[in-house]
């Protein structure tokens, strides 16, 4: 790393996830890194949270009352995670399904990955790799074709939406009883977060929600927080988490071997195919927003 610190105002002003609430010991100081800044944070049993730039006097593991910490950064609990910002954030993007009471809401895991956030988002959007990387789970040969789907950049909601995605999956979720054509909708409502909706094997009218919320450590390292919000009354939490971790564990070496690690935004930098329609929209959207952190900006 030659540069130090994030100077990208778009990224600085966003909410970023820094910890799963379920994995945070209540009333204790914990620490993490966001955009190359070392942060301390704490959450109490009542759901009060505080985040601050690390400083002497608040050491990891110390007891602390979040409400009594002064000189703090913005803090918010949403979708099972603690979010903060190094700038002035607007409202966080909505996931209305998260409020539906019959859903299982879990942090499948938070995993450190040696990749830029945009590369990881782009991989999450890609269906073409399913049969090869997630063999016999999210895809299988010879069902390798990515059929035509629609992508729009919603100006009003400021997010990317990919719809009418359909893929044959041997085992789409823990509740699957066999292979099926599965419908997908992808949202990218935040440069480093994506929300996926896919057919629920237990209720044909509803969709499971799986999100990746990426915490940028620096331009080439992330903590990937994987949120599940699914319909499943059969399986224990650990079985649902295991399914998602298995899939993420398959993606991890692919992500870590991407070169260059930062996502090139120049349309001529990498040759896309039809399956990459959502990736093309994502790169264009990042360019339009003027994102420079974690990417190689297009020249001119």
């Amino acid at each position: 790393m030659t540069e130090t610190g994030c100077k990208d105002p778009v990224i600085l002003n966003l909410w970023h996830p820094i910890a799963a609430v379920a994995e945070t010991a209540p009333g204790r100081v914990a620490d993490t890194v966001l955009l190359e800044e070392r942060l301390g944070f704490a959450i109490d049993d009542a759901g009060n949270a505080a985040v601050w730039r690390s400083r002497p006097g608040l050491a990891t593991g110390d007891r602390v009352e979040p409400l009594e910490v002064r000189d703090t950064l913005p803090a918010k609990l949403a979708y099972g995670y603690l979010w903060t910002s190094l700038g002035s954030p607007e409202e966080i993007f909505p996931i209305p399904e998260f409020a539906e009471p019959d859903r299982r809401r879990l942090n499948a895991a938070t995993i450190g990955v040696n990749v830029s956030a945009p590369r990881a988002i782009e991989n999450f959007l890609d269906m073409g790799h399913f049969p090869y990387v997630h063999t016999d789970i999210l895809g299988a040969e010879p069902h390798t074709e990515v059929k035509e789907y629609d992508v729009e950049i919603s100006i009003e909601r400021d997010e990317i939406l990919a719809t009418r995605c359909r893929f044959f999956q041997p085992m789409a979720s823990t509740t699957s009883s066999g292979g099926a054509d599965v419908d997908y909708i992808y949202r990218v409502p935040h440069p480093y977060c994506s929300v996926l909706y896919k057919s629920s094997p237990v209720d044909e009218k509803r969709l499971d929600v799986i999100a990746v919320f990426l915490q940028p450590i620096d331009q080439e390292h992330i903590h990937a927080h994987m949120m599940l919000c699914v319909l499943d009354e059969e399986n224990e939490d650990k079985v649902i988490k295991r399914f998602q971790q298995t899939i993420f564990g398959q993606d991890k070496p692919i992500l870590e071997n991407q070169f260059p690690k930062r996502l090139p935004l120049d349309p001529r930098a990498e040759t896309p195919i039809r399956a990459d329609k959502s990736a093309i929209a994502y790169r264009r959207w990042l360019s339009q927003k003027g994102v420079t952190y974690g990417v190689i900006p297009a020249l001119g």
Partner: protein, 212 residues
């Protein structure tokens, strides 16, 4: 029937799944939420293994912990060919034990580095990586000299032994701990040979061999 107390992303659990797949042993999986749930430190699990480590197997009431110990048990009991752990060959058994110990050293270094990078374990990452490189250098030389005398496997036997299974997973997953293998060509060729063993199976992070 064997029950394997298992975590998908664990290389030590994977080595048992791998040997059982190769030997065609049927087993049930009991998932352990190693991360983020730390279920291996929970009360019920500590009754099974007071060391709080995975994997553990239960074979009709025989409870065994320690991946290397379980490899010995499975091969001794379930390998009719007797080649994976050749009980009648003391010299070879000594060598196999030596490399099972070496595999524990790989766990303490390469696997530790992977836990640091991926799951945020607090440890001396530079020492872990340096330790792994030291072991990989030794293994690479051993395999390289083996190739000069037509030895394909870690031990001097015509077919692989549990020493190969014990060492393979955390060598294969080393890049997740920031330990590249480009300087170890003999290790890379050996990994490819392991992937071509009949009955080979993958785990998350390990891909099958490419077309020959």
């Amino acid at each position: 029937m064997i029950t394997l107390y298992d975590y998908e992303l664990s290389g030590n659990c994977y080595k048992l799944r791998l040997l059982m797949s190769i030997l065609g042993i049927e087993y049930k999986t009991a998932p352990v939420d190693f991360y983020p749930g730390r279920e291996h430190k929970s009360e019920w699990f500590l009754k099974l293994n007071p060391l709080g480590q995975i994997p553990v197997i239960d074979d009709d009431g025989l409870v065994l912990r320690d991946a290397q110990a379980i490899l010995i048990y499975l091969a001794a009991k379930y390998d009719p060919s007797g080649t994976w752990y050749p009980r009648g060959n003391p010299a070879l058994l000594g060598k196999i034990s030596q490399w099972l110990s070496f595999a524990d050293g790989i766990t303490a270094t390469a696997s530790a580095a992977r836990l640091h990078d991926g799951l945020f374990y607090a440890l001396d990452i530079d020492a872990a990586r340096a330790g792994a490189h030291r072991l990989f250098r030794i293994l690479d030389e051993h395999l390289w000299f083996g190739e000069r005398e037509d030895r394909d496997w870690i031990c001097s036997a015509p077919s692989p032994t549990i020493a190969d299974i014990a060492c393979f997973p955390y060598v294969m997953l080393s890049e997740e701990g920031g330990i590249p293998r480009q300087d170890y060509p003999a290790i890379r060729r050996w990994c490819d040979r392991v992937k071509r063993i009949k009955g080979f199976t993958v785990m998350s992070g390990v891909f099958p061999a490419g077309p020959a």
